[in-house]
Subunit: 314 residues, 2 copies
């Protein structure tokens, strides 16, 4: 049997036909065009599904299920999507609309969650039963895999790891609380901390790299300057890693998974990031002499969304 | 079949014979006498087990398994107990010693974890598959139940919920980190905050209750003064509840369980505590319009340790 995996984002809809080992057999995509509203987007998702089946030389009978990863959640009581904020979708019957075109079992998961599932099927955590996946991007997304299955909680509101509070009364978060982890562990946080440091230290490499135009500072600017050994950038990066480790410790002290996988923009810092985490984390671990989760970098990149969505139906 | 449940603490060893519904059929106890070292204590555990079987009119053949709840963890690789700090046990082969006297399957769990299991079998969360139990005492202990089974993690170091960091760089914790949740959500935290407030406000009810001897302030002193409406005590209690809710939000945003059960000394504040949590928590929840975990008080009290330990073998 084969599986359809759909990676629905604010920019594009990506659809793939995937085998049971997580290998993509064919893929197609189209722009999302959010302003169209939900139904035309869902129709495109269905039609691209039919297209990839044909492209790979299969028929609808070969397809066991369809999985959709989206920047929102599914309400387990109704099967509907109550929120998909980036797409401006509220209470959308994604499955109902889709089934008018393709009548197959349809599963829905959060985008970070399905990316985590992908890594646990065909990526760096392949074969691992219990893992946590993190996207370190604009925010921090979380994917929790328990016993090889995605864990979205009893009400579908779990695995929002970026909204663990690690600095109560700290930076204001979009969620209304103050001090959520993602305010300190996202790419956005590196940028904020990098800009503040560069403003105070015009002699630093971050400031020089953007010729004083601090709006141009990206996470990469800060990380590259830290890699090059710039003292101020190293301080910013070390502080970022400290905050990142606080949340990793929380994950370990709560769930004690086998692997924690880092994805998203910041993970492109690669070995430099891993080395810094692996140097800092041991001092913060509760049971100092016991083994704890391996920290690894995601390997599937952009295909994780398609693969993980497809694996929802496995 | 029936089960032996052993609640091993720093003060006493309590042993019960328990049926499959979590009902205690007979119980016995003896002082732990920590200074004896591990082996005599384990021998007492085994002998009391034989005694409760006889007392309840059963034979060893009726016993399916023995469960032990202790203030430490089990290493899942070796089956041994690497730490049981209050008892000054390090790397003890509890199962090996016990089996010399009773050759039955033996399971070991953390004391907070088994108390959570007890509540999910025979207490307030009975019949609930996914729950979190918290002991709000000297520290904050955590018990995670997933799919009706205790979750101690891949390496046995999970469910240490009191050591989630909620106030990074905050109060120093015994674990070496700063700002662990238990520094703000335990009975110890109420006492610390109550003493500090009373020192600054000798006109408050907390100060008056102890005639200015702040060493006498307990969590109950503060909570009773808050219940009576004393302005300073209410402020301390509200701040405590705020910190408690920060950790509850983290649990909800991570695991999204069906129920979170509050046990331990602070939970004796009862409905007053529940009302305060239920008033504060909704404003801190991420998905404001979705259902989330019920917050409930533990009901099993001192028997939870025996019942939960017994249920480890079910």
């Amino acid at each position: 049997m084969v599986y359809i995996g759909i990676d629905l984002g604010g920019t594009s809809v990506k659809v793939g036909l995937v085998d049971e080992n997580g290998k993509i057999l064919a893929k197609e995509s189209c722009p999302t065009l959010v302003e169209r509203g939900a139904e035309p987007v869902i129709n495109d998702m269905a039609n691209l599904s039919l297209k990839v089946i044909e492209k790979a030389g299969y028929t609808l009978d070969d397809v066991k299920a369809i999985g959709i990863g989206l920047p929102g959640i599914q309400d387990p009581r109704t099967g509907r999507v109550p929120f998909c904020t980036n797409l401006r979708w509220f209470d959308v019957d994604v499955i109902g609309v889709m089934k008018k075109i393709i009548d197959k079992p349809i599963f829905i998961g959060n985008d970070a969650t399905v990316a985590g599932l992908a890594e646990s099927v065909a990526g760096v955590s392949a074969g691992v039963s219990h893992s946590v996946f993190l996207t370190l991007g604009t925010g921090v997304g979380g994917g929790v895999v328990i016993d090889g299955k995605v864990w979205s909680g009893v009400n579908g509101v779990g695995s929002e790891l970026g909204h663990m509070i690690t600095v109560l009364d700290g930076e204001e978060c979009t969620c209304g609380n103050k001090g959520c982890w993602e305010r300190y562990a996202s790419a956005t946080a590196i940028i904020r901390m990098g800009r503040a440091a560069a403003k105070d230290h015009p002699e630093c490499a971050i400031y020089k790299e953007v010729n004083g135009d601090l709006d141009l500072v990206t996470a990469k600017t800060v990380i590259d300057a830290a890699k090059a050994g710039d003292e101020i950038a190293v301080k910013v990066f070390d502080n970022y890693v400290y905050h990142l480790c606080a949340g990793l410790v929380n994950i370990i002290n709560f769930m004690d998974p086998e692997v924690i996988v880092l994805g998203g923009g910041v993970s492109h810092a690669g070995q430099f990031l891993l080395d810094a985490i692996r140097a800092k984390l041991p001092s913060m671990i509760f049971y100092k002499t016991m083994p704890y989760a391996r920290i690894e970098l995601a390997v599937l990149g952009n295909d994780a969304g398609i693969i993980g969505a497809a694996m929802l139906g496995k």
